[in-house]
């Protein structure tokens, strides 16, 4: 009897689960769905929001005497509205198929909208069915032109952006910063002392091009950093280390070394000296010497000289990046959170505003050690 009751319970539970999951009511054949793979949001001062959708175009085109397959093309749909949601609803009305965001891989935010406030797009991840694997990028100008951009070699530009570049599968560029959408809108869920960041996706001619790093302060875009800064940002955040570092070797006239970094171990830390936080960065970089002009490695002393020069160059660039971030009062590397971990009860780490007051003038102590894995001579 008990067993029977248990079975009935399981049957009811199964029936209930099946009712709340997809069913006949969700049935829609795949070809009747308009898969949005890239979406752009713009705002203009006249208080109109513009949504640009890049939708995969499925189908065949009649060519010659028989049916031949045409390359899949992206369809661009642009619509406006008083709110982003209304603009999107208008776009939905213009589509002949059902709007489906299952494969929304890239959300591009126009510069003016990003500078206004990121919170206005919060609903995208809250109420819209967007995969957690999606990414966010900021356009250096309007998002529409980026969504319309071309990507040679790929049928759909969003695929180029997602798989070819941001996914890091087919690129060795150190300057591409990864900006997962779930992280973008939930960063402050973990700590209020860390600011947002996103890659900058622009155009070179008509083609899509990654152009650096956008940093935020209190959900507002405050600046766009160069590709070099973006590469060092990746290095400091530990997400990507492969990059080239070049330096002049001091004391050796005309000598110049180029190192291809392969692994970098970085320790970021904030220590309190009285009322002042000190930002400490310790990095050990290893790589292959790729170029050495104007000198030869005859002895360990030569090696040390080259390593010292490369370490100095790397430290200078890291200091430059942190100084730029301090100037913008943006803390995407999370030094504020490190400061809070070091001294949780200090007044300066109780809010983002209080932290920024001490952050902007915090001294920076960077120590970089470079080890050449393949210097090119036998020890």
């Amino acid at each position: 009897m008990e067993r029977r009751r248990g079975l009935v319970g399981v049957a009811w539970l199964l029936a209930a689960v099946l009712l709340v999951v997809t069913g006949c009511w969700d049935a829609r054949p795949i070809e009747q769905r308009a898969f949005v793979v890239m979406i752009g949001f713009d705002w203009d001062p006249e208080a109109q929001y513009r949504v640009t959708l890049q939708v995969q175009r499925a189908g065949y085109e009649a060519q010659g005497s028989g049916r031949q397959r045409a390359a899949p093309m992206a369809q661009i749909v642009v619509s406006e509205g008083q709110t982003p949601r209304k603009a999107l609803e208008h776009a939905r009305d213009r589509l002949a198929r059902e709007l489906d965001t299952t494969f929304l891989e890239l959300t591009v935010i126009g510069r003016t909208l990003a500078e206004r406030n990121l919170d206005e797009l919060d609903w995208v991840v809250r109420t819209f069915r967007v995969p957690v694997s999606g990414y966010v990028a900021v356009a250096p100008a309007d998002a529409e032109s980026v969504v319309r951009g071309k990507a040679p070699g790929y049928g759909i530009p969003a695929q180029f952006a997602f798989f070819g570049q941001m996914g890091g599968v087919f690129t060795r560029s150190a300057a591409i910063v990864s900006g997962p959408m779930w992280m973008m809108f939930n960063r402050n869920f973990f700590t209020p002392l860390e600011d947002n960041f996103a890659p900058v996706l622009g155009l070179q001619g008509e083609d899509l091009d990654w152009q650096g790093l956008a940093v935020f302060k209190e959900h507002r875009l405050v600046g766009m950093l160069s590709e070099t800064d973006a590469a060092h940002f990746n290095l400091l955040s530990g997400s990507r280390a492969e990059m080239v570092v070049g330096a002049k070797v001091p004391g050796r006239e005309g000598a110049q070394a180029t190192l291809y970094l392969q692994t970098v171990s970085v320790r970021r830390k904030v220590v309190w000296q009285g009322d002042r936080p000190v930002i400490q960065v310790r990095a050990v970089a290893r790589g292959d010497l790729q170029e050495l002009i104007g000198m030869r490695l005859w002895s360990p002393a030569d090696e040390e000289a080259v390593e010292g020069a490369l370490a100095g160059a790397l430290a200078t660039r890291i200091k430059g990046l942190i100084a730029r971030l301090q100037e913008l009062e943006s803390d995407p590397l999370g030094f504020g959170e490190l400061a809070r971990q070091a001294a949780p009860y200090r007044r300066e780490v109780q809010s983002g505003e209080a932290w920024r007051e001490v952050y902007r003038d915090a001294p920076v102590d960077v120590l970089v050690t470079v080890r050449m894995v393949a210097p090119g001579y036998m020890k």
């Binding site: 997809t22 006949c24 795949i30 898969f35 049916r67 695929q159």
Partner: protein, 501 residues
């Protein structure tokens, strides 16, 4: 009331004719014995007796041999002195004598003697021992069972020279009176299992048993089941392996299939080749079969689920490719699958029924022409043809046609679940299926053993991985054998001592 055969030939003939019924295929030969000049009657069925033996060893002996001491007092003595046949028994009942005639024996009635002499002259046309058509393999012995029970038992005995191999005969079928043999190893097989199976065989109450598969249904008694509860094989080597594993084998006369019991779901994936190939290759082949079974059951339902409800389960490139391929197809994914699956089943059935040469032509027509034409006409997409073809191919990887059909039948349930509830439905239905299988048993052995319940040692003996023979020293615990040690007395010492080899 049983009629006896009286001494008077006219009366005994009358009783025998009455017991034999009105059949016209019974041959009555009237003779006059040289000794004593008595009349005799020889009854047999044409085509079931060895006519040469009957002529030389019975008829001519009766007509030409003169016994110097006159006629002996009993019919048995008459047979011993006159006839040269080994098999001869005396039978008093007319019904029993008639039964012997129907079995293929000849019956001799002699005037003045009560009863009849049953002569073992059985011989009918039979198929020679050939390779098992439903279980072909690349390695291992080629011989397969035939329709004659005794031949089949001899094929097993030839491989198992052990006095512990016990064969027990039963007569099953109130009218067919089919001979059924139950085989087991006395020192290995669980006695309760043997008793259970023998009792079930003895308890069968049905008029005609025509094949072992009929016997299987009557043995297990379960009406609403898709998955078989006994193994079925045409190969004597597999039966011997089953006996050595502690199972019971059931053979029926006129059937080239032997049943083995108990079985687990895993057993249905093992083929004869597995035992003659190196373990790593066996592992690979068994994994391929599992993949084949899952492909058979899941490919089409998953296609429907993904195409209709959950396209997000595949990566973007693939989804866009699917959408492009599906564009312009008038049938919904479910109807597409239904159309091709039904066509595939029709094709399968047609090729099984047709002669080989015509069958291959039907395959070409069905597979290539109709499939290609359907895609060209944009009635179905190219993907669904691939999906259904993989599904069909998957079913062919499973040993024994029967289990392929079982998984194909399972697919239809999952297609229904996918059509109504998408991929969630497929997994929900699969969960229910495996829960139900976990509750099933075959003669007391859990159907999903050694996974549910988990028997770790058996997993390493002969599950997905077949252990190397030198390490295959223990029998599986799943079958609860009396003796789980497969090794015996070491032979090496005897050999070194110059003794037995």
């Amino acid at each position: 009331m049983a009629h006896t055969l009286p001494p008077a030939l006219t009366k005994s003939e009358q009783a025998l004719r009455k017991a034999l019924g009105a059949s016209e295929d019974i041959l009555f030969t009237r003779l006059t014995l040289r000794t004593g000049g008595r009349n005799a009657l020889l009854a047999s069925i044409e085509g079931m007796v060895n006519r040469e033996a009957l002529q030389e060893q019975v008829i001519e002996a009766l007509l030409r041999t003169d016994l110097p001491g006159g006629l002996p007092p009993t019919l048995t003595d008459l047979g011993r002195q006159l006839l040269h046949l080994v098999e001869q028994t005396e039978e008093c009942q007319a019904a029993k004598a008639a039964e012997a005639i129907f079995r293929g024996d000849a019956v001799l009635l002699v005037d003045g003697y009560a009863g009849a002499l049953v002569l073992g002259t059985l011989k009918w046309d039979e198929r020679p021992v050939q390779s098992a058509p439903s279980e072909t393999g690349l390695r291992g012995p080629r011989d397969g069972f035939v329709e004659r029970l005794t031949t089949n038992i001899s094929l097993i005995r030839r491989r198992l020279n052990d006095p512990n191999l016990v064969v027990r005969f039963f007569r099953v079928g109130t009218r067919s009176k089919t001979r059924v043999a139950v085989l087991h190893m006395a020192d290995i097989t669980n006695e309760r299992l043997v008793k259970e199976i023998e009792q079930r065989v003895a308890a069968i109450d049905y008029d005609g048993i025509l094949d072992a598969s009929q016997l299987r249904e009557l043995l297990t008694g379960q009406v609403y089941t898709l998955f078989p509860k006994t193994g079925s094989t045409e190969r004597p080597d597999l039966v011997v392996e089953a006996l050595l594993a502690g199972k019971v084998a059931v053979l029926a006369d006129n059937s080239p299939f032997a049943l083995t019991a108990p079985i687990t779901l895993g057993d249905t994936f093992w083929a004869a080749d597995d035992y003659y190939t190196v373990p790593v290759v066996t592992l690979m082949m068994r994994l391929v079969r599992f993949i084949g079974a899952f492909a058979t059951a899941l490919m089409s339902p998953l296609y429907i689920g993904i195409m209709t409800f959950n396209p997000g389960l595949v990566r973007t490139d693939l989804a866009i490719y699917f959408a492009r391929e599906r564009s312009g197809i008038p049938l919904t994914p479910a109807l597409e699958v239904l159309f091709l699956e039904v066509m595939m089943e029709v094709l399968h059935e047609a090729t099984v029924r047709l002669p080989t040469k015509v069958g291959s032509a039907a395959t070409v027509v069905g597979g290539l022409i109709i499939g290609q034409a359907a895609v060209e006409a944009r009635l179905v997409s190219g993907i669904v043809v691939i999906v259904v073809a993989i599904s069909a191919l998957g079913s062919f990887t499973i040993p024994g046609q029967e289990m392929g059909q079982v998984w194909r039948a399972t697919k239809w349930v999952l297609i229904l679940a996918a059509t109504t509830l998408g991929v969630y439905g497929v997994f929900g239905a699969s969960f229910v299926l495996f829960s139900w299988l976990a509750s099933q048993d075959s003669f007391g052995t859990p159907y999903l053993a050694p996974i549910a319940p988990l028997i770790p040692r058996d997993l390493l003996v002969d599950s997905v991985l077949r252990q190397h023979w030198s390490l295959f020293s223990r029998r599986e615990r799943t079958y609860r054998t009396k003796d789980d040690d497969r090794t015996g007395e070491p032979q090496l010492k005897k050999y070194l001592d110059g003794g037995e080899r």
